[in-house]
Symmetry: C2
Subunit: 351 residues, 2 copies
Amino acid sequence: MSLNRKPRLADVARDAGVSPATVSRAISQPELLSGETLARVRLSAQRLGYSPDAAARALASGRSMTIGAVMPTLDNGIFSKALQAMQENLAAAGYQLLVASHDYNIAAETDAVRTLLARGVDGLFLVGAERAPETRAMVEAAGVPMVLTWCAAPGQPAVVVDNVLAGTLAARHLIENGHHRIGVITGRLKFNDRQEARLEGVRKALEAAGLTLPLALACEQPTNLAGGRMGCAKLLELAEPPTAIIGGIDLIAIGSMVEAQARGLSVPSDLSIVGIDDVDMAAHVSPSLTTVHVPTALIGAQAAKMIVAWLRNQDVDKAVCLPVELIVRRSCGRVPQSPRSPLSGSHGMDS
Amino acid sequence: MSLNRKPRLADVARDAGVSPATVSRAISQPELLSGETLARVRLSAQRLGYSPDAAARALASGRSMTIGAVMPTLDNGIFSKALQAMQENLAAAGYQLLVASHDYNIAAETDAVRTLLARGVDGLFLVGAERAPETRAMVEAAGVPMVLTWCAAPGQPAVVVDNVLAGTLAARHLIENGHHRIGVITGRLKFNDRQEARLEGVRKALEAAGLTLPLALACEQPTNLAGGRMGCAKLLELAEPPTAIIGGIDLIAIGSMVEAQARGLSVPSDLSIVGIDDVDMAAHVSPSLTTVHVPTALIGAQAAKMIVAWLRNQDVDKAVCLPVELIVRRSCGRVPQSPRSPLSGSHGMDS
DNA sequence: ACATTTAATGCGAGCGCTTTCATTCACGAT
DNA sequence: ATCGTGAATGAAAGCGCTCGCATTAAATGT
């Protein structure tokens, strides 16, 4: 049993009767070799069970074939879905994905980027456009291609969706159903420009309809079910509660639905609810959630393709904006005509 | 503007008036240096903005400070939660996490492991004990520490939970509530020993109570909400439908609940439902889901700690088994006494 | 037949760091 | 004074691969 050390490139070269350089080319630029030589080298490599040393390649070539992704958290369906898509697409192009998370902490993002850069990543995915100037500076100084996701920064390649539009779509749908008092529960706005944009979109739609968003009707909550429940509870306990609620993400919307139902309200007849994201669950809760579809997996896939193209020096679209779309399901209805039990009546009739 | 090339270790050495070896030690074994020298080197490093080159370190030292994790999918709360915990713990120890996924495809797992190994990972996390012999062989040949998660293989360090017990706990709870006809919806059993074990646990509890699991009452579905709905639909359409359903994972259980409710059944009075995992959502659906808590994040955290200890040549527990626990909420009730609308009556009275 | 390309391969100098071994120096013991 | 001793540091040989340049051989043109 010859359990000698791992074969190196030189071993293959010797075995195939060629120079190390030729073996190296057989791996990375096979088109430069004659068919015969290539075949011989491949045979030797195969026979010896050769597999190139990634660290050595990285050192010699200056490329690590590794891409870093820094997400707010991996523990959220929308990010893990994007991550999954990134991973698949990168793997297909020979790249590995290095992940880090910052839990919505702007300084933690800086640290993560620093670490990844020190790791020699060839490219970087970041979420959102808002970040510490230092972070941008580091990436720039390192000369590492970076593509943003979800939100775009000027002049920076990105794969985004129109979050403002998403908010507008959600609000407009409610307005068209006669709702005046619309509550909005967003995620924490700090270091989360996706949520900010969506909120802005809601405001826009409201203003376009001659309505406003009273301070009391907007609240920030953690981006999870519990946040949705709490936010909803808060809004429903208002003297003048909303007739409809927009969740900054589906999880919040669903949490709101649960809370409303737990309070004996019927969705949508007592309270309408709209989400944004269209997570798997949205179609399966009852009533099914009307929401604005955001192509999460596509964002990841596109971002991966973009960075690979960039690394291959191909043309890169400066920023692609993926479409969002209102998905009408069953969680929204016309504004209730009459006061309902735990809520005081809404003002003014409509329609 | 001196935008020269990145400073190297030698630059720091020159600046600090010491040898490169000393700088190297300042980084990785500071305890070997005199306080004075260390301070001087650190100052120079800081001033020059030095950051060691990971590839060079990896090549010279034979350690990449990188750990690979191969998951069935990132796009599932339980795995992404574990991943998140792994990532945090590894980062704290100076390691980076390289991720890959195989989508429940055993050959894809082999490929992922091969790739990660070629990448020079210092350690590996895998899910479950079932896999291609080739995969094990590769890891062994590479001499890379590997820790398994969720399910243990003999003689292999692992952080697991007793999935059989989880299944038993779920079933026993139902049995104690008088249920005889218990349906089970698991995820696909192929290359998923967690689900197999849970199913086995259910069988055990049933047998211990003198009951059996008829073939018709067990079904496999995708591990998501839609799977739960379909599985539930199938079971409810049986001539003799179950009075209770166990979901192999919470997502399935919740999907079942939705389906049951969509069919006009009330949970738990018409149908009891138990899940396994205790995902965030479980506490927030309505009725809240009775389930078996599996400490997902802890699995990840422990696994990370274990592999770090191993890499530091510290003692490693061969296999830690984390506790599972039945969480009684509101989705289970006594078996219905009388036939209910869409279902034919259950046989024999109980209690 | 001879110069000129073009294609295929080899040479060798690194890439930036780690680590073994040797060296130096200070200090307490003899 | 002399000799270990151990702590602190330096010298230098790689780690395994890539790539610019040089070289050779074959093909093409005149």
